[in-house]
Symmetry: C2
Subunit: 598 residues, 2 copies
């Protein structure tokens, strides 16, 4: 080895010893005759001192050092002179008195500072990713990602799970997202698809008697890219036999709580993870993956305002609608234009409008509220008692703003849910240190697709319906509940899971309800239906997204920050400039031709 220790390990205990280190020139400072180099490797920094009185030749060579040069130094570990210690640095009490220096490689001046945490243009970071990854923040993210995956594997291995690799080149089964196609050279006109997930394969592994399977699996979906969606992503793919929902949620809670305790012990979270019903959280948060780090729950005012003189409210309720609201803390002073903007947001998200009630500029006690503090178009139609009841229901105080929506239940929930998320973020209500895990259960098995006028699976077609809802399957599919359990965290769905169907006839019936012809069922799912005929055990699974989990634990806003070589929003890998043109011979080999006239 060109080094016998790492920079970050050098401390007072080693004073007096000789050491050889190798790494990058992080900083250089000259003080009189002395040259000070902060030497960096993956483990940290250590100060190296070149003194011309020690060795003039080495000192002379050190004069040529510039940042990001790769060097090897040998010298003696020494205490820093009193008063020059750096308490912020792990190695700040010591320095290396350099006796010899080898320049292993030079460096051009980097296009941005590697040694400072400054904002750098995104495309520059992607183009010079090998420099971006040298920065402390990115290095920590990469190490955290390693620690997350290592911990997950260890946790599952200890519990009898087998990691099994499943193929990536599969038959195209166009369900859900768009497949990436790979033309076959041996079979002209036919295509492989890149696995969107190992779903059917892991179910086959259950049929194969594996019982406990997992894989840190690469998956591919040809969807339009966003800052937060990559062409390829990584999920913890997991499946177990002989389990029910409770077993799976217990496993997941154990896995994720132990994970946080081990890789991010400074983060705060509650246990047990709440288990919430889909229908309830839609009423309370207006979305199926609420950020539970803050309250601001959606309150139902229907009983309070049903008999009020305000026609918008009473009329809505008379027509079977609902009146619901959120209380926004400290926003009683919002201006007309600020409120207009919120109304626009609500309208964009399905509400007919929004009735705001301002409880004034100043904090106070609700019992002392007078009509003078209240500002609202509805004020003159409502009594003080009614307003106090509304405020109380929304947990609003004087100084707060109440946003009320009236109308169809689903639209009202959706609009207020969006406002809750928007305002919670704007007001900083969520503790950035907190991790609010929760399970969401009792999803409907099917969702009606208005556009195509057909039922579609709420999650995927392999989810088992509730036993007690089976009689409704054909007559009222919309009322059938599925054996789902999603895990949400800080406003993200980090894992979707379910107990699966394991009998051929039930699986076939579900495909039929989804509108598939028998021919299509055979073509897409024939192998699974066949396999179920040969002793398929009851089983269930889950697929947490690794990229998202790491991003949340790293405190990063997008998953791109925790992927070593991401593509930009246009799907371009700036480092590699892909995709690229290929030769005509390559194209001919796979029996395709390219449409260039588009």
């Amino acid at each position: 080895m060109l080094k016998d220790r790492n920079c970050g390990e050098i401390d007072e205990k080693l004073i007096g010893q000789s050491v050889t280190l190798a790494g990058w020139v992080h900083r250089r400072r000259d003080h009189g005759n002395l040259i000070f180099i902060d030497l960096r490797d993956r483990t940290g920094l250590v100060q190296c001192v070149f003194n011309p009185e020690q060795d003039s030749e080495t000192h002379h060579l050190a004069e040529s050092l510039r940042i990001e040069y790769v060097i090897q130094v040998s010298g003696r570990i020494s205490p820093r002179p009193q008063g020059t210690e750096n308490r912020k640095l792990a190695t700040g009490a010591v320095e290396i008195l350099v006796e010899s220096l080898v320049i292993l490689n030079e460096s051009k001046t980097p296009p941005f500072y590697v040694n400072e945490d400054v904002d750098v243009d995104e495309s520059l970071r992607l183009k010079f990713r090998y420099l971006d990854l040298r920065r402390e923040r990115m290095r920590n993210n990469i190490i955290l990602r390693h620690n997350v995956v290592t911990f997950i594997r260890q946790y599952l291995n200890e519990r009898g799970f087998l990691e099994i690799e499943t193929p990536i080149l599969l038959k195209s089964t166009p369900e859900g997202a768009r497949d990436y196609l790979v033309p076959s050279r041996l079979y002209p006109g036919k295509f492989y698809a890149l696995a969107q997930s190992p779903q059917q394969l892991k179910q086959l592994l259950m049929v194969a008697g594996v019982e406990r399977y997992y894989q840190i699996a690469r998956c591919f979906r040809d969807e339009d890219l966003r800052a937060d969606r990559q062409m390829e992503f990584t999920q913890l793919d997991l499946e177990m036999s002989f389990v029910d929902e409770d077993d799976m949620m217990t496993l997941l809670e154990g896995l994720f709580s132990s994970l946080v305790e081990n890789v991010a012990p400074e983060r705060r979270f509650n246990q047990p993870f709440p288990r919430l019903r889909y229908a309830d959280i839609m009423e309370r948060y207006g979305c199926d993956k609420p950020d539970l780090r803050f309250g601001m729950e959606i309150a139902d005012l229907s009983d309070i305002v049903a008999q009020s003189l305000f026609g918008v409210f009473s009329g809505t309720i008379a027509k079977g609608g609902v009146v619901k609201a959120i209380g926004v803390p400290g926003c009683g002073k919002y201006t007309k234009s600020q409120i207009e903007e919120l109304i626009e947001t609500a309208k964009k998200n399905g509400a007919g409008g929004l009735v705001p009630i301002s409880l004034g500029n100043e904090a106070g006690v609700l019992a002392n509220l007078t009509m003078e503090h209240v500002k609202s178009v509805a004020a003159k139609y409502l009594t003080l008692d009614q307003i106090q009841a509304i405020a109380s229901r929304c947990e609003a105080q004087p100084g707060d703003l109440i946003l009320i929506a009236a109308g169809d239940r689903n639209r009202v929930n959706a609009a207020l849910g969006t406002l809750r998320t928007e305002l919670g973020g704007r007001l900083g209500l969520a503790d950035p240190n907190a991790l609010a895990f929760a399970f969401v259960t009792d999803f409907p098995l099917f969702t009606w697709n208005q556009e195509d006028e057909r039922w579609q699976p709420t999650h995927h077609p392999f989810t088992s319906p509730w036993e007690q809802d089976l009689p409704l399957l054909e007559a009222e599919p919309g009322k059938v509940r599925g054996r789902h359990y999603d895990l949400v965290l800080n406003g993200y769905e980090i894992a979707g899971g379910s107990i699966r169907i394991h009998k051929t006839e039930l699986q076939r019936k579900v495909f039929q309800i989804l509108g598939h012809t028998e021919e299509r069922i055979q073509a897409l799912f024939g192998q699974l239906l066949d396999a179920f005929e040969y002793g398929a055990p009851p089983h269930g699974g889950v697929a947490p997204g690794i990229d998202r989990v790491v991003a949340i634990l790293a405190g990063e806003p997008t998953i791109r920050e925790v992927i070593p070589f991401p593509k930009n929003q246009a799907g371009l890998d700036l480092l590699f400039g892909s995709p690229s043109e290929v030769s005509q011979a390559q194209i001919d080999a796979v029996h395709i031709s390219v449409k260039t006239d588009q």
Copy 2:
């Protein structure tokens, strides 16, 4: 959980306890009124007894059980009646007296026996892979593979390596094997390629300062398939900074010896792993990945026969050729037609012919050999002393066969090397329990490609030349040695590795020697050359093939047996029937059209 223990864990210590198990009906035997079921799960078998006197209803239900039904049983753990114990089974001293039975799923009669180790048609095994994987042999292979990968990760994690995922969708860089192409939807006429290996990416990670990287990486090459080559394969991809060849070989020897000790402790191997030079092993074994479990080394007879009266030998040497031989134990009795077949093999592999010398039918002492025992066309031209010297050089005894080839050195080595491999296998000279690891070093950096009349890299273009051979680089590239270290095991190259070039100018020069234009160098490798300008550390790496390592440790003849869902030799996944036709809309989305007139 539908079970509270695993079948394989039930033993005498648990006698008297109640237990609930779930699994598959492995065997059923009826004895009078009693029904015996061997219940199987992933951990093993346990005998379950249904007694009508215990519970007639449960017994009645048990009558319907057939093999591979999935069941749940509850009952009491009891010692087997004296004389009925099965010492071959871990659970053979006990049985479950069943009190209740639930049939979780039924099974059709499987197309082959899951409970017996019988030969089954390969295509049937692939079509019903979920049943094939239930068989003990395949289950053990899958578990072994898990153990291998788990051990490797643990070993490297403990040594400061970070596992980092690199992208699979890359720019096409047509070097070496054929790329799988993935048409881009967003960039009409452009293609991604599936990664053939993370080579350039892992070198960029070294430039990024990661220092110690590994990945259990999926790789893709669109080559013609064989029993032993899959469309996608898995390698341990590994790279380190600040190392030389010795550091890398030390790491690999530690990793592989610890691996065997942990996952296959019954296997025998020698340490330290021999480090052999390429030129030497070509002389001694005639191939660069010799099976070192047996001797039969190629002996050079040139000095013995240079002055002999046999013109084939003396003439060859006079013309600058060599005369070499192998001694084949116990084959002095080979018939004329058996020997003819060996001569044919030698000719197919480049030799002009073969001169056999039989040392007779019977074993004996070489000193007692007389000309009467010797049978050969060359016998009358050679003295007994010469024949004894030849035999001694080949370590041949009376009763053995000596196969001599004369001619060009490389052709003679190649032909005798092939015969050595062929006869070693036929005679069973290799101990199937032995693992003969060795490193091969000092490969030439370049190999002359006769067909294209250009130099090509012996391994890949990123390997660093020997420092002392740099002056030869332009004038005599064929004499430049590379800093390679391959790891061979039992006749397979299981890992190719090298210290890499880390300076732009040297890397560019190597690309030029390989005949690349500057334009092509920029297009294919520009990002790496650019990266080397910004402080690239000295680094090296290696990429052991996981599939092959597991197959050797499992004692399996092909890698297909250690891959859960392999494709057959025609590239077809019989379970999924891929590749498949896709819809015109899918084809249109990626701006290609299919040539159907081929």
